[in-house]
Amino acid sequence: MTKQTPLSKKINHRPPPPPAGPVPWDKDFAHKLLLDMLRIRRLEEKAAELYGDGKIRGFLHLYIGEEAVAVGALHALAPEDNVVATYREHGHALVRGMPMGALMAEMYGKQEGCARGRGGSMHLFDAATRLYGGNAIVGGGLPIAVGLALAARLQGETRLTACFFGDGAVAEGAFHESLNLAALWKLPVLFCCENNLYGMGTAIERAESQTDLCAKAASYNMPTFSADGMDVVAVHATMQQAVAKVRKDAGPVFVEFRTYRFCAHSMFDAELYRDKAEVEAWRKCGPLRTFTARLKAQGAGGTKGGKAKLSEKEFLALDARAQAEVAEAVTFAEAGTWEPVEDLLKDVHTPEMAP
């Protein structure tokens, strides 16, 4: 289902119609993904609160509104695949399996954090789940993803590398150089564009002469897919197709997820560049809201519907689990310790191996 689109397609700031119909997954899987979306949402709501309290500092970029993308997409990957992400990556880290306590402690700047407090919110790294950042230079992760895929290829590994970036990155030279290299060398990279219509405060049509991002990617001679990023079912299905394509053809694929950021770009954003009505319209088709509604009304368990509907009690139990995990993560972070200042220079270079 390589997508063909007219070159002059006008960008649309209106949300798509809310997804409807039964969820074609078994109940356990549907609830697992719902729980992951809740975990991200509750974590970030708490992070915003802690930012107000001064517990978390620096830049904090919330993913609220975009949860369906990380959850749907990353559940289509295998554990051995590599993930490269941006500075808006709390959700990606969580879904890949980073313990929430390590994530929260990192935002606190504590040494129990995933990067010992050196990175903070924007630089989450996790060798155990092959998460290579947490890159806060827009477009910076793309060439790295190409190199990770090259290393896999040359070492005979079958893992692919999924690289997440926003629509803003598409204007960077790194985007074009990376797509060209990956396509030229037929490397297993999944370029995952989280198109939330704004690069910080600049709307995509004010930044891109061609707002059809799939058309841009297609010019590098790779298959492209586009999915409603507000619909976790569509995200997952599209990502599965894209993953299969990368594994089968061993070349790169570009996937655009059309999504929307409900909160400000960071905690220092007065949101002068978009209408409140636009934000409100997108909130109405928020990924948690619509997915929950579908599961309650029509349930999961295949296209026939009617069975395994989500009860309010089940929903509240899932939400309570997410909130309890957040509370535990906060307790863990609060109890965390500061890395001794004597360790400041540690790991500027790799320590020499003990003889």
């Binding site: 990175g119 910076g140 190409v146 150089e177 790991d347 270079h349 790799t350």
Partner: protein, 324 residues
């Protein structure tokens, strides 16, 4: 048996050895394959090692240097050749924001064992956009090591320890040295941690690196004829600087001149002078002097280019100024 070879041959041998001995090593860059390397450093490699390990890249410095970072993270030992330091400015983001930072920023989880080689310097009438000496920009960055092989021995010997290093290493090869021939000793293994005394003396310490080394050695001979014995220090490693070797020479000679092809303002020479003032101020019998490139874009015309760059006559004059 020691042998006479060129700087180019020495570097080529070093890369050949690395590619032969370690399957994780591969070479990537513009025109390093079919063309044989812009300076013929990799001539014949494509046939011998194949296109998977000798990878011609598009003109995408940011892309392929970043791919080198990723390949290093993924378990390989890339040698990325950036044709010249001038073009490396297009890749600066990946070198400074990715390669140099990953180890520390990830809390020690990810190292980047990447070697980036590039040609540097002026002197071949290549004009302003192909004549930069920006070693000091890279030497400013914690997290990377910066090497400047100026001798046949270092051209042959520095690559192996650079590849063995678990962190990013940037190697600057001065374009004026490629055709220089010299004796390669039987044991050419070298470290990438220390400065070296290239000429012993007692009257003045001249500290330099890279393409300026032959000029300094020529100046030292002129000075010797006038009764001034210069000790010549080749920094070799521009980051981290080997402060001890510099200070030992300054303590012995009590006078110092720094020769640096970079522009004076914010130069590596400035850093060396600051360290001398910090560590050996009371040893000095005269102010520390320096010879740098004039603060002007490098002109094309030969006489103007010569006038812009450090030259043996300028070095001799600077040294004599300390004895006036």
């Amino acid at each position: 048996m020691s042998k006479i070879i060129s700087y180019r041959e020495a570097m080529r041998e070093a890369m050949h050895e690395a590619l032969t001995n370690d399957p994780r090593v591969f070479l990537m860059g513009e025109d390093i394959g079919c063309y044989g390397g812009a300076y013929a450093f990799s001539k014949g490699f494509l046939d011998e090692f194949g296109p998977a390990r000798i990878r011609d890249t598009p003109l995408s410095e940011l892309g392929f240097v970043g791919a080198g970072v990723g390949a290093a993270l993924g378990g390989l030992r890339p040698i990325v050749e950036v044709m010249t330091v001038n073009f490396s400015l297009l890749a600066l983001d990946q070198i400074v924001n990715s390669a140099a930072l990953y180890r520390h920023m990830s809390g020690g989880q990810f190292s980047v064992p990447l070697v980036i080689r590039m040609c540097t310097g002026a002197g071949r009438q290549l004009a302003a956009q192909h004549s930069h000496s920006l070693e000091n920009w890279y030497a400013h960055i914690p997290g990377i090591k910066v090497l400047a092989p100026a001798t046949i021995e270092d051209a042959r010997g520095m690559l192996a320890p650079a590849l063995a290093d678990p962190d990013p290493v940037v190697i600057f090869e001065h374009c004026g040295l490629f055709n220089v021939e010299g004796e390669l000793p039987d044991d050419w293994t070298v470290d990438i941690a220390s400065a070296k005394v290239r000429r012993t003396g007692k009257d003045v310490a001249i500290i330099t690196y890279g393409g300026s080394l032959p000029k300094v050695l020529a100046a030292a001979e002129t000075l010797a004829a006038d009764g001034i014995e210069a000790e010549v220090i080749d920094l070799r490693v521009l980051r981290p600087l080997d402060t001890a070797t510099i200070m030992a020479s300054v303590a012995k000679c009590h006078r110092a001149v720094v020769v640096d092809e970079g522009w004076k303002s914010g130069s590596l020479a400035a850093e060396v002078m600051a360290r001398i003032v910090e560590h050996a101020f009371w040893e000095l019998d005269a102010p520390v002097a320096r010879v740098c490139t004039e603060e002007v874009p490098i002109p094309y015309a030969k006489h103007l280019e010569d006038a812009a760059l450090p030259q043996p006559e300028k070095i001799v004059a600077a040294v004599k100024g300390l004895f006036a």
